[in-house]
Subunit: 488 residues, 2 copies
């Protein structure tokens, strides 16, 4: 079995990397072929999906037209467009009502249609409520929306989805669909796939647009390897329309987006499809695009699931690094990931600023969440002396300078005021001479935490320091390996 | 005796400070009267000085005209202008030769005249060699110079002195001379008097110009209290001349000086008389000017000679501050102060930068010199962990980014490369995890030391840390009190 792995691959150099450009091209082709074999749904999977979708669409259509003769039903998403990866089992059914319907009725009808389509389903809430459930092994969403003339008329984000579907369907063929699958698999493997607010990566729609725009997976890789953010793509040339229009806000004809990657939605010139994609994920994609072009390897298409870090490994890292790791641990607020992770990130930023402001130097920081949530900060400096320098105004700014001087002149607890350069300076006592006291104090609640994190911390939290952070290993062993063995 | 101290002084509030403006004016007048009584030379001192000066001028004139009939002799300096402070005993005799004389002959004649004037004197070297010695209790310099038409024609700095003397003599009367004495005494008391490169303060000539320009000591104080540096004074209105001239470099008609205090030399438009005066000394003068106007007190005219700090006091300060004081001590290079102190300051700046660059945070630093010299740094952070963050280029700067990545990708000693924002980052080992190892290493010699300090350190130095800095108390007790009990 494993003896076969190398068969059919082109020559490789001593380190396994192909030696010239042609060989690399061939090697990448050979590898993507093997990847496709694994990630393309086979005939059975396709037939099962089509059968399931047909049944669901029929049910939804019957239930919808019963209530509103003018309604219709469309399947959207990667299973509709044949761009799904084998094993992904999402079927998205969109029930479109005419815009004349009032929103309340739409929501009522939408839920009724959902329940008739998925008798075992339950309700969830996005911009509209909708029904989600399982059918024949597939995860199914039945989502009501308005059927509009143009995507720019939408009333909520879900109304846009059918437009996306129509735009892509017209531009995808079998080969392009395979390239979309490769791109998705590649982005998954490098951890940059998904527009949720935890990943802040590439959405499925964005990935499909990029493959369509660049004309394939390999051209996309080659382009990305040379990107100079901000990268601006505008498939439908909306920018030109904007430039000649007086009503838009694009200064100097530039796109009015401040993101590293800007892809103007073909169905809506006002929207950057890549708005969620972080600078780090753009950089990550660039890094791995270069790597897979230079040294095509199948493992670059395989998501890395790190083994949990062991206690001895953790201890060895802490010994080697000589830093002070500190974990603030508390019960994870009961929020969906798209709310939880932004709050955790905001809280982590607040804690880092609070430490910085007190001159406790943070080397690196990360947040983890499962049943508990953790704000993890690794300090280069966890203690400061009793006094700190406090600069006053220049002596020549008379009013302020006299105020500063008089405030401290008779204060026995400070050194000074004295003069340094043109300013008054005092050396005064610190509120906190060690970071742990600060993190254990009420002042932690002032650093600008996410609202639900603040509530959780007000309730209870623990501060783990140094080797005590090993208590995190049971819940966050894999995350800690990723932290202590960081890769691009 | 001491019961008389308060007599004749105006009413005071509970804290001893006069309560209204008139009372303050009267109090300052009463105090300056008492100060003048102490610092004005009495008739005996004046007579002694005049007798000594007369004899010295006669000797010098005879010796000079013997060699060069066209030579003449002038007395310059504060004893010549009656602006000296009782107890100052400097007599400056300038021997002026015609500009037709060649420099070598001038120097020969100058030394011969000096030796005939001061048979016990010895030679020293400024721009010209000159003879210095004692006569009847006075410190006498006999300095040769060229007698020129204008100060702008000068060949060396000493040629300018007679012009300064003439300018001031024409503008000083008895009352102004008293105000000059008060200003000098005040600047001495606050530690801002003297244009040597240790003090970087107000020269005698500058002080006299300021008093003349503002019309007295009190007007000078009132102006200084409100100064907004850069302060620009131009007694002879040279700036206007410069503005209308096409040959000068003053952009926008501004003075071409980048100093906090600019006083254009009345005898030379190209020269800022206050060039040496540091921002700190300008600020110091402003601070104490406000203080003496607000709360006139005689002690503001009395130089503070700090008692040496005791071992227990030092220990108490170190306990209270919790910092890490470090002294680099070595044999003081055999240089005059005007060369030594700039070199020590440069060396101290270099050491502070070297520590900063390695992230050892310096709270304050100072330099001391006597038989030994000391670079004293007080650290807030003296240790760092084994690893440090090292930021690479943005990933999109492809050439640099690939170079950085490849340099570290297989380096087992670093963490990463990983991606943070749009950049590659590694965490690598530090060269020095504690400041002392750095200061004890050869790398100390790379920080940009003064030349003679570098030579001294190459030879030998010791590093005193923490409570061991008490070894400095014997030689630098007073300086250490000034350091640990800082005042404006």
């Amino acid at each position: 079995m494993s003896d076969d792995t190398g068969e059919g691959e082109p020559e490789s150099g001593a380190d396994g990397a192909p030696e010239d450009a042609d060989a690399r091209t061939a090697a990448l082709e050979a590898i993507t072929e093997r990847v496709l074999e694994r990630i393309s749904p086979d005939d059975v999977e396709r037939a099962t999906m089509h059968a399931a979708a047909e049944e669901l669409l029929a049910r939804a259509t019957a239930a919808a037209t019963d209530r509103c003769p003018d309604a219709d039903v469309v399947q959207v998403g990667s299973t509709a467009r044949d761009t799904w990866i084998s094993g992904d089992r999402d079927i998205d059914v969109f029930v479109r009502f005419p815009p004349s319907l009032d929103r309340e009725t739409l929501e009522t009808y939408g839920l009724e249609v959902g329940h008739e389509t998925l008798p075992e389903g339950h309700e969830e809430y996005a911009e509209h409520p909708y029904v989600t459930g399982e059918y024949d092994g597939f995860d199914v969403d039945v989502v009501p929306c308005f059927r509009l003339e143009a995507a720019t008329d939408i009333r909520s984000a879900v109304d846009r989805t059918p437009f996306h579907n129509r735009y892509l369907e017209a531009r995808l063929d079998g080969e392009t669909a395979d390239d979309v699958r490769l791109a998705k698999q590649f982005l998954k493997a490098i951890g940059a796939y998904g527009s949720n607010l935890r990943t802040e990566g590439f959405s499925g729609y964005l990935t499909e647009l990029l493959v369509v725009e660049y004309g394939g997976f390999r051209p996309l890789l080659e382009a990305a390897a040379d990107w100079h953010p901000p990268v601006e793509l505008d498939p439908e040339d909306h920018g030109r329309a904007r430039e000649t229009s007086s009503s838009r806000n694009g200064a100097d004809g530039d796109y009015p987006f401040d993101d590293p990657l800007v892809v103007i939605d073909p169905t809506d010139p006002e929207r950057n499809v890549a708005a969620v994609c972080s600078a780090a994920n753009v950089a990550r994609f660039q890094h791995y695009a270069r790597e897979v072009l230079e040294s095509p390897r199948i493992d670059l298409f395989e998501p890395d699931e790190p083994e949990p870090l062991g206690p001895d490994e953790l201890a060895a890292h802490l010994d080697r690094r000589e830093t002070t790791p500190i974990a603030i641990r508390f019960d994870a607020p009961a929020l969906v990931d798209d709310q939880l992770y932004p709050q955790l990130q905001k809280s982590l930023d607040g804690v880092v600023s609070g430490l910085d402001r007190r001159e406790f130097d943070v080397l690196r920081a990360e947040t983890f969440a499962d049943a508990s949530a953790v704000l993890f900060v690794e300090l280069a400096v966890a203690e400061r002396p009793a006094v700190e320098r406090h600069e006053g105004p220049p002596v020549h700014v008379r009013g302020h300078a006299e105020g500063f001087h008089d405030a401290y002149a008779d204060d026995e607890t400070v050194y000074g005021p004295f003069i340094d350069g043109d300013r008054y300076v005092v050396e005064r006592g610190r509120d906190f001479t060690d970071a742990i006291s600060f993190l254990e104090s009420d002042r932690l609640l002032d650093v600008g935490l996410g609202a639900h994190v603040e509530t959780a911390l007000e309730d209870e939290y623990e501060v783990l320091v140094g080797s005590d952070v090993s208590a995190l290993l049971e819940e966050f062993g894999a995350a800690l390996r990723a932290y202590f063995e960081p890769t691009p």
